[in-house]
């Protein structure tokens, strides 16, 4: 267990650190994961900057009104009204 945590900390590259930062927005990180990202950020300014920006983006989105976010999500989960109309028309014509 401890070996795994240490390995995690020692083998943290940008990609892993960035994935963990993203994960931290969805679940609490483990001790090893937290330190892996922290230590990586000490030596990598790019990752530190990217992590700050990703978290800031997450907060900015969370602050948008619920209705606005919902409207924005429609197009990526629901068939748009325009497409529905077009398809129904085509089906009638065929």
């Amino acid at each position: 267990m401890i070996g795994k945590q240490v390995r995690l900390i020692l083998h943290c590259n940008c990609e892993k650190a960035s994935l963990l930062t993203s994960e931290s927005l969805d679940r609490p990180l483990s001790f090893g994961e937290r330190w892996a990202t922290r230590l990586h950020h000490l030596v990598c300014s790019h990752c530190l900057r990217a992590a700050r920006q990703v978290r800031q983006m997450h907060r900015a989105i969370a602050r948008l009104p619920r209705s606005v976010r919902y409207m924005m999500s429609l197009h990526s989960c629901h068939l748009s009204i325009g497409a529905r109309k077009r398809i129904v028309e085509q089906m009638r014509r065929s």
Partner: protein
């Protein structure tokens, strides 16, 4: 959300066997449009391609509705037709998979190199939205950027960040593992970050 008029139901040719309900384009699209769209989105690059495939599937199903024997659910039959359309689409573009970049093992090839180091440097981006105008602009840019995400990433991102769905429920809804979701969300967030940066927000602050 029924797009179209109800009266037009009567215009469609009456079929001997099937009930009225299964015989209206409006009802089909209204009932199964989202299901087919989500199925398509999970496989192809973007929303336009997904919409086109859904349209093709509906048209093919509508033309061949006489062959639907009613032994399976209409939804199952429609999804099967859509899957064939998706397969045709990939065959014609000469690829086995268009996106699903979030699903492949190393996957992030355009963001990180083989050692897991950023391919391009991280530029400045400030999201301190102080004025209403800035907030307005942010909304606009965010909308554009979300739409530019590959379909499967846009879907995961929308459910998680826009609809604030708990991660476990997102996994259930799209039918992927927790780990897979983590990879998709990671990728979606990074692509959005660079899209936001590229489109005005980053630049503007730097110029100040």
């Amino acid at each position: 959300m029924v797009a179209g008029t109800v009266e037009s139901t009567n215009l469609t040719a009456p079929s001997a066997s099937a009930a009225d309900e299964t015989e209206s384009p409006d009802v089909w699209v209204d009932k199964y449009g989202d299901l087919l769209y989500r199925t398509a989105l999970a496989r192809v690059a973007n929303q336009t391609v997904a919409e086109d495939l859904v349209q093709e599937a509906f048209l093919a199903a509508w033309k061949g509705r006489a062959t639907f024997d009613g032994r399976s659910e209409l939804s199952t039959w429609l999804v099967a037709i859509l899957r064939r359309k998706i397969a045709d689409h990939f065959r014609s573009t000469g690829r086995s998979r268009e996106t699903a970049p979030g699903d492949d093992e190393p996957g992030e090839h355009d963001l990180f190199d083989h050692r897991g180091v950023w391919r391009s440097p991280i530029g400045k981006l400030s999201l301190q939205l102080e004025t209403p105008l800035e907030r307005e602009e942010f909304l606009h840019v965010l909308q554009t950027c979300v739409q530019e995400l590959p379909g499967n990433l846009a879907q995961a991102f929308s459910l998680r960040e826009l609809k604030s769905t708990p991660p476990e429920s997102v996994c259930e809804e799209i039918g992927i593992s927790r780990q897979n979701l983590a990879v998709r969300l990671h990728r979606a967030r990074l692509l959005l970050r660079s899209c936001l940066q590229g489109r005005w927000l980053g630049e503007r602050k730097e110029g100040k």
